[in-house]
């Protein structure tokens, strides 16, 4: 019997007090979807995903995902290819709107506002939620113009402001020292790792609240990967970061919380330490130890 039906059943036959106790026990046994408290303190919620289902045509890709992502923490999504982790990430800034035949049920609340509200301005949403992809995608423009691009289309033309934001964003993305003498050179002349950090600089230039990263270091060498990871750890003081990664050790190193997905379902969500030291669900254990997936 599912937890919901158990709870529903208790509502009809039990006195109020017993009902509450049974409900709370049943909920405790059910899947953890929110990590509200840690020994270090209480997490404030940034993103609240509620019963999200996603269909590509008739094929269902996400099943009833409920998940609370805390503010100013790094949350990693892990799972084998095709498990829905990237799809879920793309739901968080409505990137899936751009895919044909996609249907989404459920809610994604960011700062308590449902981003699937039809009246919501998607452009504004994406300004607030930056995204960094697996393959770095700088514009074929100068380094300076790449970072200033978002500001320019937002109507900012004041050179002094642009200069300041470009500098602070490049510093924030740990690229300033390497790029400050070549701001007017083409961004395409940067190395892969530098290009990826430029994309992060471009994302943070418009001061988003959340940064989504879809395997941001999977195409980089270990040194460039190390720099990106270091950067993520620095950025989490100011931004909420959600990262999809196939690199298990990367998730273990940089994330505070980890969600494991399999076949479109959230299997386990907990503190990263728990997921990698002593996961509760056998499927998670088998995946992180490399026994399947």
């Amino acid at each position: 019997m599912s937890n919901e039906s158990l709870i529903a059943k208790t509502k009809n036959v039990m006195p109020e007090e017993t009902k509450k106790r049974v409900e709370s026990e049943v909920q405790m046994k059910s899947l953890k979807t929110s990590i509200a408290e840690t020994p270090e303190g209480t997490y404030a919620t940034c993103i609240d995903i509620k019963k999200l289902n996603l269909y590509y045509g008739t094929k269902q890709a996400l099943y009833d995902i409920s998940l609370t992502i805390p503010r100013h923490q790094v949350t990693a999504f892990i799972g084998p290819s095709g498990c829905g982790k990237s799809t879920l990430l793309r739901c968080l800034n409505r990137m899936n709107d751009l895919v044909d035949n996609v249907r989404i049920d459920g809610e994604v609340l960011i700062d308590s506002k449902n981003i699937y509200n039809p009246e919501l301005d998607v452009i504004n949403l994406r300004k607030n939620i930056g995204m960094v992809f697996q393959k770095s995608n700088p514009f074929p423009k100068s380094i300076y113009e790449n970072v200033a691009y978002g500001l320019r289309i937002a109507g900012i033309t004041n050179k002094k402001i642009l200069d300041e934001v470009v500098e602070s964003s490049l510093k924030g993305a740990a690229l300033w020292e390497e790029a400050k003498d070549r701001l007017n050179d083409s961004a395409l002349g940067l190395s892969g790792g530098q290009q990826q950090r430029l994309c992060i600089a471009r994302a943070i230039a418009i001061k988003p609240e959340v940064i989504l990263m879809d395997e941001p270091a999977s195409a980089l060498d270990p040194i460039a990967t190390g720099k990106i990871e270091e950067l993520i750890l620095q950025l989490k003081d100011r931004y909420t970061i959600v990262i999809v990664t196939h690199n298990m050790q990367q998730a273990a190193r940089i994330s505070d919380l980890t969600a494991f997905f399999y076949l479109g379902k959230l299997i386990e969500y907990d503190k990263t330490r728990t997921i990698f030291m002593n996961p509760t669900i056998k499927q998670t254990e088998d995946y992180v130890t490399g026994r399947f997936g």
Binding site: Q249, N278, T289
Partner: protein, 224 residues
């Protein structure tokens, strides 16, 4: 087909179990040497000790290489770290067998102070604890962890009783001091073996349950 990393884990497990059986065998030979006053067995213990030390080095090497190659997590990580610690405890049980042999050599220089009754009992209790700790390791028998901890208290009590008895011998007759002190040391070595068995059991609990109980009493787990 077993995958490489699983094969590596099997080999590490096999090595630690072989080491445990060598340690047990050496300990039994050392006790025989003591009880039967047979010094010819001491050389066998010394040779066994060399082999045990080599296993300790080999197991640590295998474990470190495994960590470097596979970056294990979850149960594999707990297994590897536990194996390294268990290996160290087993190696120290091996050392206690050598220490007992050294006491045997000293004790054999004089007639027996008193018939050896409690010391073989202490040895038997410690050995059983060690066996059970390894049984818990191999077969995930968590109920043994709390049992072993309780039995460790019995071992301590028996050792303290022996200390009191031997102290009274020394007070009565100072000529017994050397022999009594050697017997005290022997009982101390045996009690240390029980401590190592308890340590192993607690580490095994961490390996299976993911909870560190190094400095606390383990929870009582039902056998069934």
């Amino acid at each position: 087909m077993e995958r490489t990393f699983e094969n590596d884990l099997s080999q590490i497990k096999e090595a630690i179990l072989t080491m445990a059986s060598l340690v047990e065998k050496n300990f039994k030979v050392a006790i025989r040497a003591l009880v039967e006053r047979d010094e010819s067995l001491i050389d066998e213990v010394m040779r066994g000790e060399e082999e045990i030390d080599q296993y300790d080095v080999k197991i640590n090497d295998m474990a470190i290489l495994y960590i470097a190659r596979q970056a294990p997590v979850a149960s594999d990580l707990r297994f590897i770290t536990t194996v390294m610690k268990v290996s160290s405890d087993l190696e120290r049980v091996g050392d206690q067998a050598v220490n007992i042999c050294k006491r045997t050599r000293e004790l054999n220089k004089e007639p027996l102070l008193k018939p050896l009754i409690d010391i073989p009992r202490l040895a038997h209790m410690s050995l059983e604890m060690l066996r059970d700790a390894m049984d818990a390791f191999v077969n995930n028998k968590m109920y043994l962890v709390s049992e072993i901890t309780t039995r460790d208290k019995d071992v301590n009590e028996l050792k303290n009783q022996l200390y009191r008895e031997l102290t009274s011998y020394m007070i009565e007759n100072p000529k017994t001091i050397t022999r009594a002190l050697n017997l005290m040391s022997t009982s101390r070595h045996l009690e240390r073996v029980a401590d190592h068995a308890k340590n192993i059991a607690k580490k095994v609990y961490f390996m299976y349950e993911g909870k560190d109980i190094s400095h606390q009493d383990p929870p009582v787990v039902s056998k069934y």
